[in-house]
């Protein structure tokens, strides 16, 4: 059981790191701000989700699990809002020039 959980942790965190890497590559390589923003928020949210999943078996109790999930939820909320705000600012700037 514990070996299976360890395996889950390793696989999920590695997958999460892959998505973080993909998001960062997108941020650096994509040409326009909107697609960079898209790559960053989407890939990073998924990456963080996978890392949270990987850490769940190590959270030590239900309270720890809930805290980790709450962290993920808050980051989702914040990054979705910030992406909206930045995209809105880009659009306003684009239409004014």
């Amino acid at each position: 059981m514990s070996a299976a959980l360890d395996l889950l942790t390793i696989v999920a965190i590695l997958a999460g790191l892959f998505f973080f890497l993909a998001g960062t590559v997108g941020l650096l390589r994509f040409p326009d701000p909107l697609s960079r923003l898209h790559a960053l928020t989407k890939a990073d949210n998924l990456g963080l989700g996978l890392i949270v999943v990987g850490l769940l078996p190590r959270a030590g109790g239900l309270l720890g699990v809930l805290k980790l999930v709450a962290v993920w939820f808050l980051v989702l909320l914040a990054s979705a809002t910030v992406a909206q705000l930045i995209a809105g600012a880009i659009r306003r700037k684009g239409s004014s020039t």
């Binding site: 709450a70 808050l74 909320l77 809002t81 705000l85 809105g88």
Partner: protein
């Protein structure tokens, strides 16, 4: 070199690179954004130094609230004429660089030469914990052993608010800080400002409460409560209260006032200024901390909002 060591070196390199970016960036706005990222990474360094209380404070106040303040200032100063500011002449710049490198080198040498392990007060701090009833030695230092510092620091916060308010134009004295509430708030920000505060208030109070025994406390919890108030103001859901508001002023001074009152009562009851009677130290400490949390939650947004900019409502 172990993996952990490599991660430490990577973290230090990132922190230094962001710090260099903050100094070198052309735009003040970009520099301020870099400073926020820098502060967040620096709080990871604090975690690595096993100073979780400091890491929370650095993330919340050093990076978060300071970041909001600096980004807003940079945004407002965008229209300023940069032509008036000449950079230092290259030879002087070089000289300054050499001198700063020497300062950094001397400091680094001092750090490396200093005794390791360093002299420490940890045994005394831990040894006297039972008399305070607390489990978190950092909170004990803040509210009990070095209570005087913390009380004066609250006074500094209130004085800073007085200083900021005193910069108000005459016509605006007694009015509200910041721009008037927009007719139509930005939808996404308004949504966040409605969903987040219920959660944030719970988290803030939780962090204040667990601060007695675990990392956390009045500063960190108060900063989160302050962030919740700031986000509702930024989203335009609520306006900053007028600076003439008695309630606001009472909240601002409540922390230091309660601290001082209990400190003075200690002279009579426990035989010393800021001494707590044995047995009831913990409830008193939590009582003081509750008011400190309130003061911090009100002071930080007021400092970010700046001096009043609207004429007072009749």
């Amino acid at each position: 070199m172990t993996v952990v060591n490599a991660l430490d070196i990577g973290l230090a390199a990132l922190v230094l690179a962001l710090a260099a970016w903050t100094v070198a960036a052309r735009e003040a706005f970009a520099a301020a954004v870099g400073y926020v990222a820098y502060g967040l990474l620096l709080s990871l360094v604090w975690v690595r130094l096993f100073a979780v209380d400091v890491a929370l404070t650095e993330a919340a106040i050093g990076s978060g609230v300071t970041g909001v303040l600096l980004i807003r200032a940079a945004a407002r100063l965008r229209g300023a004429t940069p032509a008036l500011d000449e950079p230092l002449a290259p030879p002087l710049r070089f000289l300054a660089g050499v001198l700063c490198a020497m300062v950094a080198g001397a400091l680094a040498a001092t750090v490396l030469l200093m005794p390791d392990p360093a002299p420490t007060l940890a045994p005394q701090a831990v040894g006297n914990l039972p008399s305070t009833g607390l489990g978190n030695a950092v909170t004990a230092v803040l509210i009990s052993y070095r209570a005087f510092d913390t009380m004066l620091e609250k006074v500094v916060l209130v004085l800073a608010v007085v200083g900021v308010w005193s910069l108000a134009p005459d016509a605006c004295w007694g009015g509200s800080p910041g721009a008037p509430r927009p007719a139509r708030p930005e939808a996404a920000l308004a949504f966040l400002a409605q969903v987040l505060p219920p959660l944030g208030i719970v988290v803030g109070i939780h962090i204040f409460w667990v601060g007695a025994d675990e990392p956390g406390g009045a500063f960190q919890g108060g900063a989160i409560l302050a962030a919740m108030w700031m986000i509702t103001m930024m989203a335009g859901l609520t306006e900053a209260p007028p600076v003439s508001s008695t309630r606001l002023r009472l909240v601002l001074v409540s922390g230091p006032a309660v601290f001082l009152a209990i400190g003075l009562a200690g002279v009579v009851i426990a035989g010393g200024f800021l001494a707590y009677p044995s047995g009831s130290a913990k409830p008193l400490i939590l009582f003081i901390e509750a008011f400190m949390t309130l003061t911090i939650a009100a002071t930080l947004p007021m400092l970010v909002a700046g001096p009043p900019e609207q004429p007072p409502q009749p």
